[in-house]
Amino acid sequence: MKRAPRIFRLVNLRRLSQAVCFMLFLYLFFRMEFPPLGPSGEMEAFRILAPVGLFFYLDPLLALTTWIASREFLPVLLWSLATILSAILLNRAFCGWLCPFGTLQQLFSAGKTARRRALRSGRWRWSPKRNLKYLILAFFVAGSVLGLQQVGWFDPFSFLTRSMAVWVHPSLGLGLDGVVRVLDWIGWTALADALIAGLRGVVVPFDSRFFLHALLIGATFGAVLALNRFETRFWCRYLCPLGAWLGLCAARAPLVLRKHEDRCTKCRLCLQSCQGGDQPIPGEPWISSECHLCANCVDTCPENALEFAFSLARPKAAERRPLADLSRRAVLGAAVGGFVLAPLQAIGAENAERDRKVFKASDKLIRPPGARAESDFLSRCVRCGACMKVCPTNALHPAAFEGGLGTLWTPIVVPKIGYCDDRCTLCGQVCPTEAIRETTLDDRLGRNGREPVRLGLAYVDRNRCLPWAMAKPCIVCEEVCPTIQGQKAIKLVQDRVQAPDGRWVDVQKPVIDAAFCIGCGICENKCPIADRAAILVTCVGESRSAANQISLPGGR
């Protein structure tokens, strides 16, 4: 058989596709950033024009769980049908050709030692342990029936974007910082300036940012990458629920690996380079649902004993075992696990009474502007961290357990670290599942008959506030308080008070006018009391909750 010219060989096309998709992913990730040019009308919001949600829209796992969990049809996720179609026809080609997380796994599992290990360890052979990913899938799908969207912990694009946003991106900033300091030190200031001018706000953060709980997110990312040194594409073989979902769709795929046992010399080169671990060697059954169509086996075989072909005939069991050894009992068990664990996570399920308890659990569960009511929010948020990446003030951070296990790594505003700019709508623009709805400036500012979007409410800690507690002038909070519907939420009242030394002094004391407070947190952010501000924002009064209020509607 004549070989195709090198460039047109399947492996090279696959590598090209992987490179393009990975670069595209990085490009879209870095475009989750304040857009470099302003809008044409200055009263409009700044808009990100790049399709930064592309990979999420192509993700049928997110489509499935988001649709089920939110009980609402989000049309943009229909794009993922293209991925389903690719699996029905071409097995898990998506994993091998397009998925940027898969490409990253492949990069981290590359190398001669890894190839040798694949043979020595015997891990080229199918193992029922790889069915773990189907159980993970069953677990999360079952959870979504209860209205919990928790697949984001394991969804590959959510995992990758979150790790990049919270761990890699700030690290790049630190790295540049270090390089620049050395350059400054040796006197190459011009180069340092050029690096900062060229990279800041493009591939490194504009500000020097950090995220709460970054360690845990970074550590899980590192662990997943490190597992590749144990076994090639460990994540894809054992853990990825998207891979499992595509494997299910590919159960009857017409694309088959045709093996010519007569030509095979048992050199086992195909097994060395196999990405999916699908037993390409003649004489063993081919596990089609594990094949990423990486085509390494076809390419490396010196005897041309392997080729891809299309066949609609029902395969013989010895040739192909889609979804090998997947026991019904295990799947049911995992699904039941999804139900059983639900109460642990269920703050935010569809239950008004429980919804009312969310903010009782934590007054610091301040959600980004445009976020839906908590139960609805948790049925959509995939914890991808895109909002945290784009937030220009570093205000959004991954939550820990503020609202129970279910809120882990969902975004919350931490005003002390970053405030929410009153004229910024970027987080709603990048949210792939509309857990944060896109807002307009009219929404945010309460113009043209709208109610302003409120994240919470500020209150003054009179025991710490300088004019209240120490008879010192200050008013920074009033200075920075944005004007909403014509007024500031922080008003100053004049008072004559006695200072600690007995003198009588005139001070201006801040008091909150709740009707004009949107909970943006800039007061807490800029308060000169550096550790615990004398003015604090909690989530009471948030627009998204009917229950988490002080007064009745209109009586704010």
């Binding site: 302003g38 004229r423 500031k488």
Partner: protein, 316 residues
């Protein structure tokens, strides 16, 4: 080591000891030598006194206001020499549009930049240490757009560039000042006139808070002293008060169109105290009630006796 260089296998340790350590030492020495060569940093950018102490232009569009004011002051060449590196310091502190009167009018900034360039300046740097998120401020203020085709450098504040300086003030002894201001030949201060709850008004002195780093929010506890200390150290070549629109309520960022009043006025002078004193009249505030103006005048930083100043008012 010379014969070994070509003949023997080098171990990693040898490479480190024989090559890299001397190289690093050399680089470090060169760096140290480079540090010593700079001239002394200062923030006093004043040039000789012009014939007029204060020029006020009324009833014009921003560009005309600037042109008339500079003409009356004797032309920009009087202040900017050919080849100068000039810092133009507007207020770009807030995520607000020009109509809201929180930032210096972009047309005023543009017209001034053009004047400075026409006077032969080598570089014009424009920046502000914004209070709100900087990229939003630069874009929404309209200033980024207004100056983008002029060939000036609009830069975001870079935290590396703050240099601790001895201010010699009565309250502020030592404070981080932006290096561009220290290294520039001329500094042109172009504030917008606004209401402010701590200093009562935000004018020329208050605008200088955009060239410093540090914990600026602590200034408010003794704002008038702080501003006088700062204005005694940073001495701009020229202060141009943009009062095309003034913000009369909810300062210093406002946000509501009704808080900004169109006054179509601009004042210029080398004496920042005189310019700020004039600024008070726009708000019907008695200058004697303005702590930082009184304090600065007491210290001899400038004069607040408007009647005694050589003033020209141009009515368009």
């Amino acid at each position: 080591m010379s014969d070994r260089l070509l003949t023997t296998q080098w171990t990693r340790r040898e490479v480190l000891e024989d090559l890299l350590v001397p190289a690093a030492a050399g680089v470090a020495l060169a760096g140290l030598a480079g540090c010593g060569g700079g001239r002394e940093l200062s923030a006093d950018k004043r040039v000789g006194a012009p014939p007029l102490d204060l020029v006020v232009v009324r009833n014009g569009e921003p560009e005309v206001l600037v042109r008339q004011a500079m003409e009356a002051m004797g032309g920009m060449q009087r202040f900017v020499a050919r080849g100068d590196r000039v810092v133009l310091k507007p207020n770009i502190g807030f995520n607000r549009v020009p109509e809201q009167g929180a930032n210096t009018n972009p047309e005023v900034v543009r017209a001034l930049a053009v004047e400075i360039l026409n006077a032969g300046a080598r570089t014009v740097k424009i920046f502000d240490h914004s209070l709100y998120e900087a990229r939003h401020c630069y874009a929404r203020s309209g200033i980024a757009k207004a100056v983008q085709d002029l060939g000036v450098e609009l830069e975001f504040v870079d935290e590396r560039k703050f240099v601790d300086m001895e201010l010699g003030g009565e309250w502020l002894k030592r404070w981080p000042i932006y290096r561009e201001v220290l290294e520039a030949d001329k500094v042109i201060n172009v504030p917008i006139a606004k209401q402010h709850s701590a200093s009562r008004l935000s004018l020329g002195f208050k605008n200088l808070m955009g060239v410093i780093g540090g914990r600026r929010e602590a200034f408010h506890q003794n704002i008038h002293q702080a501003l006088a200390d700062l204005g005694g150290f940073v001495r701009p070549t020229l202060t141009i008060l943009d009062a095309y629109r003034i913000l009369v309520r909810n300062g210093p960022q406002g946000g509501s169109l009704s808080d900004a009043v169109l006054t179509r006025t601009l004042a210029a002078g080398v004496d920042m105290v005189a310019v700020d004193t004039f600024g008070c009249t726009l708000f019907d505030i008695e200058p004697a009630q303005m702590g930082f103006i009184v304090e600065a005048s007491r210290r001899g930083i400038g004069r607040m006796d408007l009647a005694g100043l050589k003033t020209r008012t141009v009515e368009l």
